[in-house]
Symmetry: C2
Subunit: 426 residues, 2 copies
């Protein structure tokens, strides 16, 4: 599979990918849908306006307005069969032997208005998020953190292997990659065993390496989504950094869970990798030997998407280190299981809802998705260039990368999920 457009080897945005996002440019400040392809983006508003979809006859042209929207919600709501159709058509448009040369390859005018250098566009939140739910499906993470607090024998809570534990997160503060965030201030205990809090900038600011999923269409209230149908409700995937202030969390979280420790910001990558693009990378997740409730039992065994994951920290001084290399195969629960569990109560999902996987961690050193695990609860510093870190310092930039596949000409990648921590506001 080759393209008439030059796509560098190793690009996350190969012909096998075709991820969707929302862009603006200094020339055209309106937010509009686009796809990323190599070092370019195709502005879908301009492409649609210029007749680029004329040959996509299976797509009702009365619906082309979805590409003039400021978010991907309307496109997502059309459902997976439509996403499949559009993604495949757009890939075909870029093939060397494209069946639709007049759409773009042989249309220099449309190329000029619609095909833009990736480096020249600003990306925005791809969807308007209704509710954001964060799960806890990374079993090694749950075990590692539980071990720190309760020892290995009681590391996993009794419910952990029976249901995908999750909680409702904060949707308003989900930001797109590249948005800096201020260190939160809050109540923390000044020392172990203290019972009176002090108020200060969080001292134990951490990252959580996660995968996110956007919901394409929802279910009516009171009507659970069966686990074997849940795949059809997925629009696509992003990388996520669920920033966490451990000291705020420790004081506030009993009995209702994390609140201010996490609601100051959650960063997602800009390009939504469609479910179909990741379908070839299915594999099995971690084994679970409890007897599963039937609403969580899936027909298919290859229920996890294998994604290579890496985390870099770059300090304000410019030192940089890849602190984590791991894989999404470290998830115990699949997305269909999380969706089935979320809705088994009758809870309704809606287009644009965002689900997080929970922190993805391996077992050995250098595979952990949080500093809490890497530094054994802040006890052992890690090295970044000549500097050390137990938790994040002001000016630190965290970059998460993720991709599926090993053939460098056909990577299905997410690009980067990046965020810098600024000093607390006063």
């Amino acid at each position: 599979m080759t393209s008439w457009l030059s796509i560098p080897s190793g690009s996350h945005f190969s012909l096998a990918n075709i991820p969707f996002g929302i862009i603006s440019t200094s020339a055209v400040p309106a937010h509009r849908p686009a796809i990323a392809i190599g070092t370019h983006v195709l502005d879908l508003a301009a492409f649609a306006h210029g007749g680029g979809f004329a040959r996509l006859t299976a797509f009702p042209h009365s619906q082309l307005g979805v590409f003039a929207e400021t978010t991907l919600n309307a496109f997502a709501a059309l459902g997976r069969p439509t996403h499949r159709l559009v993604r495949q058509y757009l890939r075909d448009v870029f093939l060397t032997e494209t069946p639709y040369p007049e759409a773009l390859k042989a249309n220099p005018t449309l190329q000029q208005t619609a095909l833009l250098p990736l480096s020249g566009v600003q990306t925005h939140l791809p969807l308007s998020i209704g509710d954001y739910t964060d799960f806890f499906a990374g079993r090694n993470h749950a075990f590692n953190v539980g071990t720190l607090f309760r020892g290995p024998a009681n590391a996993l809570n009794p419910n952990y292997n029976h249901l995908p534990v999750g909680y409702h997160g904060r949707a308003s503060s989900v930001v797109v990659s590249g948005t800096p965030l201020h260190r939160p201030r809050g109540q923390v205990l000044p020392a172990p065993g203290a019972t009176t809090p002090v108020f200060q900038p969080a001292a134990r600011l951490d990252i959580e390496l996660e995968i996110g999923v956007f919901i394409s269409r929802g279910n009516p209230l009171g009507r659970p989504i069966p686990v074997d149908e849940a795949e059809e409700y997925i629009f696509g995937y992003v990388l996520m950094n669920d920033w966490s202030a451990r000291d705020i969390q420790q004081w506030e979280y009993v009995p209702l869970g994390p609140f201010n420790a996490k609601n100051f910001g959650t960063t997602i990558s800009a390009w939504v990798v469609l479910a179909d693009a990741l379908d070839p990378f299915r594999t099995q997740g971690l084994p679970n030997d409890v007897e599963m409730q039937s609403y969580l039992c899936e027909d298919r065994k290859d229920n996890i998407i294998a994604i290579h994951l890496e985390v870099d920290i770059q300090t304000a001084k410019g030192n940089k280190s890849t602190i984590t290399r791991t894989s999404s195969k470290n998830l115990l629960w699949s997305w269909p299981q999380m969706i089935a569990h979320h809705t088994i109560s009758g809870c309704n999902l809606r287009t644009g809802d965002l689900l997080g996987s929970g922190t993805v961690s391996g077992i050995v050193e250098g595979t952990h998705g949080s500093l809490l695990e890497q530094t054994q609860g802040g006890k052992v510093a890690i090295e970044i260039g000549g500097e050390t870190r137990k938790f994040l310092e002001d000016g630190d930039t965290v970059v998460i990368r993720g991709w599926s596949g090993d053939n460098r000409d056909e990577l299905v990648g997410f690009g980067e999920c990046e965020g810098q921590i600024l000093a607390a506001t006063t």
Copy 2:
């Protein structure tokens, strides 16, 4: 203060109130803003269209479009000074000696199109809700429930008096009064001490009597709202029933808090009582003797709104009993304190966000806002007509009523927050 419109004594919707909602009618199915007044509503879309706001010269008429919207978000976003102006004008329109007789009193044509019987309209969710946050500010409830699980000495967790504990709730399943909800199914432990769950319809389905607040305008991410400015961010108040499946909650809630136990539905009353309407009913909340962090210290001491609260249960057989009579004075934390705490991390609020108070309970029997407390954890049944209840049964209807004031001609009431529990879906 008297009206040319007949307003029955004891009406929740007196001239002192003027609450806002969203209605539709069989004749005009479009959702549109309205106010409730006695046994009528004033359709604000029709009123604006018919020139009813002509004399409200301080309101920019270019903004009249907010009354043609399908939610109150655009109106809420205009801010409290505008809400004050519009509410006072509409009240004046209904005065016997109205300074604006041509607006409605002497305008039978507009009366015919805009003044509708309350009994003939359908109400809808008043605002599109971005995020829904539920607090835990009813200290007696926290104490009562903590006592059931841990005894009175450890009833309140160490953080309780230091910060308004809260968690992120589920926005998608907030429904307007009158919407029936199916009993949720989920994982529960079959007996105390069991470690393997069973899957079944929740057997311990409960209510939570709460007050809700809608946010008028938000704050930028990273910019906390100071406690003494927080009042200006409040649009208005509703009653809320935070339905809770106690058996699902008990199994799932460690360590991230309630999830499926509550996300199947939350009911709110239809009419938003504006902050200004409740301002005359300020009083002091429960005393708190811990040294408060400065970001929670308010200049004013009368920081709680006094609201009389009642809960009825009506069974499928038609038996009915008022099981609870209490007051919002049982809150430890004020709304400005909850808003200041919510945002102190930098978290942003947005127009239409909904905050819940947490369950409001008194101390003695008959003042509890949940069945869990009333029945001492399901041990002691309460009587409803000739029937008994420990938790809710299928077909039960719960009605919450709330009002401020004691002069029956000037009540500022919420109407009802009503919901029926249907059998679990199979």
